[in-house]
């Protein structure tokens, strides 16, 4: 049976929101060490900067403290990038998809969201953050596992996978990007093994991507900006490396088109090929020499382009309007555009993080 375009879009975004929530939980979880500044103090503002949420954050709070940042990113329903908002968006999509997804998938997301709603601000403190984040990660992984084990393998599965891997690739580039300037102090003269502080920062980056042990297996000794960045960008075995994710996107897009003889999606295919080609063509040393940030920025823009091309090919979306014109709210029910439409916009703001 043909897949309804709107369902394909919902599946794609459901996967993205779950993946994004898992990554936010990872980042909050390692916050303790992640955001220490050069004096060793915890800089809670850095999380806000990571997501380019300064404006929204300071509209609601006067100071970035453990308490305010945690509230903002865990429970705040008005912050569209809080965990609650993302799981709500995932659940809204899942609700629309109930005729298509398995009962197990729906029930788990529904229960997860309802449990999240039961959390009170007093449950979500700096001291309790680790436990909450561990729980959220586990729920997100449970979702991934249930999906793997119960989601019928037709077109919907391919859109789910593409959403998941696009988001994952995007999140990995963000993780690298926020630390690139502390970790690669000056272009061209990065110390081969870094200062003590750098090493702990790099460890944190790896841990937040669940890559620390894998990295150690590949590089038992020595940890340098080049080895860590190279691992996270190009390693062929690391499930969160950008190359691994883009290969997956490429594979799913190709099989989607060949197995279901879909006539559309050639533009998305070409963009994926271009991205994969670029990722495979340059060693990490060259990337760092020429500027890691610009490189990551390009990868992110390419992912946004691919998302938009997938949307035009399969979801019946119009090409983006010229920049001067505000895109009209075409959606008939406000809720859905909230759960999906702003995903791209959000990626774009996030991509602007220095």
């Amino acid at each position: 049976m043909n897949l309804l375009a709107r369902y394909a879009e919902c599946i794609f975004w459901m996967a993205r929101y779950m993946e994004r929530a898992e990554n936010l939980a990872r980042i909050l979880d390692v916050q303790e060490t992640f955001a220490r500044d050069s004096k060793g103090d915890i800089n809670w503002l850095s999380i806000v900067q990571l997501y380019a949420d300064e404006t929204a954050f300071f509209e609601r709070h006067s100071e970035a403290t453990a308490e305010t940042v945690i509230q903002f990113y865990v429970l705040d329903p008005q912050n569209t990038s809080s965990l609650t908002s993302m799981i709500r968006a995932a659940r809204e999509n899942a609700r629309i998809l109930r005729p298509w997804i398995s009962t197990e998938m729906w029930t788990q997301i529904n229960v997860f969201y309802n449990k999240l709603l039961e959390l009170k601000p007093k449950d979500v403190t700096a001291r309790g953050l680790g436990r909450i984040c561990a729980w959220i990660k586990e729920e997100c992984q449970t979702h991934t596992g249930i999906t793997e084990g119960t989601f019928y393998r037709d077109q919907g599965w391919y859109f789910y996978q593409m959403g998941k891997y696009i988001e994952r690739a995007d999140q990995t580039t963000r993780l690298l990007d926020i630390k690139y300037h502390t970790l690669v102090p000056t272009v061209g003269d990065a110390p081969p093994d870094g200062s003590t502080l750098d090493v702990s920062q790099w460890c944190t980056v790896l841990r937040s991507a669940a890559g620390y042990h894998a990295f150690r297996r590949v590089y038992p000794r020595g940890m340098s900006p080049a080895t860590v960045a190279g691992f996270m960008l190009f390693n062929e075995g690391f499930p969160r490396s950008v190359v691994m994710c883009v290969r997956q996107i490429d594979g799913f897009l190709t099989r989607l088109r060949s197995r279901y003889s879909l006539r559309r999606g050639a533009a998305a295919m070409e963009s994926v090929d271009e991205l994969l080609g670029a990722l495979l063509s340059r060693p990490i040393e060259a990337v760092i020499r020429e500027g890691l940030h610009d490189y990551l920025d390009w990868v992110q823009r390419q992912l946004i382009l691919i998302t938009s091309e997938i949307g035009q090919a399969f979801f019946g979306l119009e090409p983006p309007a010229p920049p001067a014109v505000e895109a009209p709210a075409t959606s008939q029910s406000g809720g859905q555009s909230q759960s999906q439409g702003d995903g791209q916009g959000q990626s774009q703001t996030q991509a602007a993080v220095p």
Binding site: L4, R6, Y7, R95, T107, N114, L262, R264, Q332, G335
Partner: protein, 460 residues
């Protein structure tokens, strides 16, 4: 409930201790909530998911009793379909003076666009829910017909699934007729009415107003049970009077649609031009026979309160039979005798306006003040044709678990029928129960709940 056919069930229920019953009741509620078997309630701020409270003590209907109800529902569906075909064609029943023509032709639910149009099997009402109550003598009576978009069948099936999980010990070997093939029967009916041009493999769809509709869970349920996409207006387009849905591979044809959108909102070109929910041009596709709609357009004229009173006469007129399930005794105040009787017995009767604003303006005689009765008398005399009167029906009760005790509570019953080329009645139905002591109101918005309805197999 003290009847022989429930003896075994009562015995088994009595053997389960009370704490266990309470625990199982709590399990059910949690499970319903986790599964999202909910309806939406709109509060001031936002929409809230609520479960329909579920009472774990089943209502049991014997095979013999059910055979009677099944036949009665079939008779009613057949009659209403004959009536709809008649009023959209020759209008014999109006010409013969059985029903006042203005009641039909002046009815806001009458669609002149449907006059002269032929539809497959002459079936207008493919999905029907009949609201039944049982009076103090144990006689089932029809309270209302739902021939537009009757809701509640999803609870019938899901309640049964819930009971099977929570009470396997209670149900084993009882011989309860299954209800879970409803989706399959519905899809068959959709296939039967699909245009011939669709060939052997027609594409069905369920058309919903969207995720913010209070019955959205039911829409999901039905689409899933049938294995057809749940679409919204924006997913469909009409080109050259054919209906298509937007898929990942472009437009794909759709042939048969179970629509859960009212006539008014279905096609802004043919009906309400302000509606954003529907599909522009779908009525033209329908008129040309390129797409089937269930229910047909214009069925609302058969299920309103004014026409309801005439259904027993219609049964006589079209089938030359007596009603198998009688109406609640209803007096049509436009008829002088009935008006006089109503005026003479105002304090004993329920007086209802038949206009569109149903539910409002009802006077319940035994509970009304003198001033209210006088007000009612004035209105009746001013516009008798707008009113009907009925005795207060003393709804039957079923044992029900309330705050951990078992007490009698009032119930009604909504069986569901599906008609393609012929009619099938789901053996069961939605039993709604008034959870508040003393109240007759079973509506979910007024604290009503539901029960599983067990129709026993005929073992003779």
């Amino acid at each position: 409930m003290e009847a022989a056919h429930t003896a075994l069930i009562r015995e088994r229920l009595a053997a389960i201790d009370f704490d266990d019953l309470r625990r199982r009741a709590a399990d059910v509620e949690r499970e319903l909530y986790n599964l999202g078997i909910t309806f939406l309630v709109y509060s001031e701020k936002d929409a809230v998911d609520r479960i329909l409270p579920f009472d774990i003590i089943p209502r049991v209907i014997s095979a013999q009793e059910w055979a009677h109800l099944d036949a009665g529902v079939q008779q009613r569906v057949a009659t209403l379909n004959l009536f709809l075909h008649d009023i959209y064609h020759d209008q014999k029943i109006l010409k013969d003076g059985i029903i006042p023509p203005e009641l039909v032709l002046g009815n806001p639910n009458f669609r002149p666009q449907m006059v002269g149009l032929d539809i497959p099997h002459n079936t207008y009402i493919h999905i029907m829910g009949v609201d039944l109550v049982r009076d103090r003598h144990g006689t089932f009576r029809v309270l209302e017909d739902n021939g537009r978009v009757p809701s509640g069948v999803s609870y019938v099936v899901e309640n049964r699934h819930m009971m099977q999980r929570i009470f396997p010990d209670l149900m084993q070997g009882i011989g309860i007729r299954p209800v879970d093939n409803y989706g399959h029967k519905l899809l068959e009916a959709l296939y039967e009415i699909a245009p011939a041009s669709a060939g052997d493999d027609p594409q069905g769809a369920l058309l919903s107003p969207g995720a913010y509709n209070s019955a959205y869970f039911e829409h999901i349920f039905l689409a899933r049970e049938m294995g057809v996409p749940l679409v919204e207006g924006r997913d469909l387009v009409v080109e050259n009077d054919r209906v298509y849905m937007k898929t990942t591979d472009g437009l794909a044809p759709v042939h048969s649609i179970y629509r859960r959108i009212g006539d008014d909102f279905l096609d802004p070109r043919a009906f309400n031009p302000d509606s954003l929910l529907g599909v522009p041009g779908i009525f033209d596709a329908y008129r040309k026979g390129n797409v089937a709609l269930a229910n047909a357009i214009g069925t609302g004229v058969a299920d309103d309160k004014a026409v309801y009173c005439y259904v027993p006469r219609m049964i006589k007129y079209y089938l030359d039979q007596d009603p198998i399930i009688p109406n609640v005794d209803t007096r049509i105040c436009r008829e002088p005798d009935a008006l006089q009787y109503t005026l003479d017995h105002l304090d004993e009767l329920v007086v209802k306006p038949v206009g569109e604003a149903g539910g409002y303006g009802i006077t319940i005689g035994p509970r009304a003040s003198k001033a209210e009765l006088e007000d009612c008398r004035t209105k009746l005399l001013a516009d008798p044709a707008n009113y009907i009167s009925q005795p207060v029906v003393d709804l039957s009760v079923c044992p029900t678990m309330v705050d951990g005790d078992i007490e009698p509570r009032h119930v009604d019953l909504r069986p569901f029928a599906i008609t393609g080329s012929k009619t099938w009645v789901l053996p069961g139905g939605l039993t709604r129960v008034a959870l508040k002591r003393g109240t007759l109101i079973v509506n979910s918005s007024q604290g009503g709940g539901s029960k599983d309805t067990w129709v026993l197999e005929d073992r003779a």
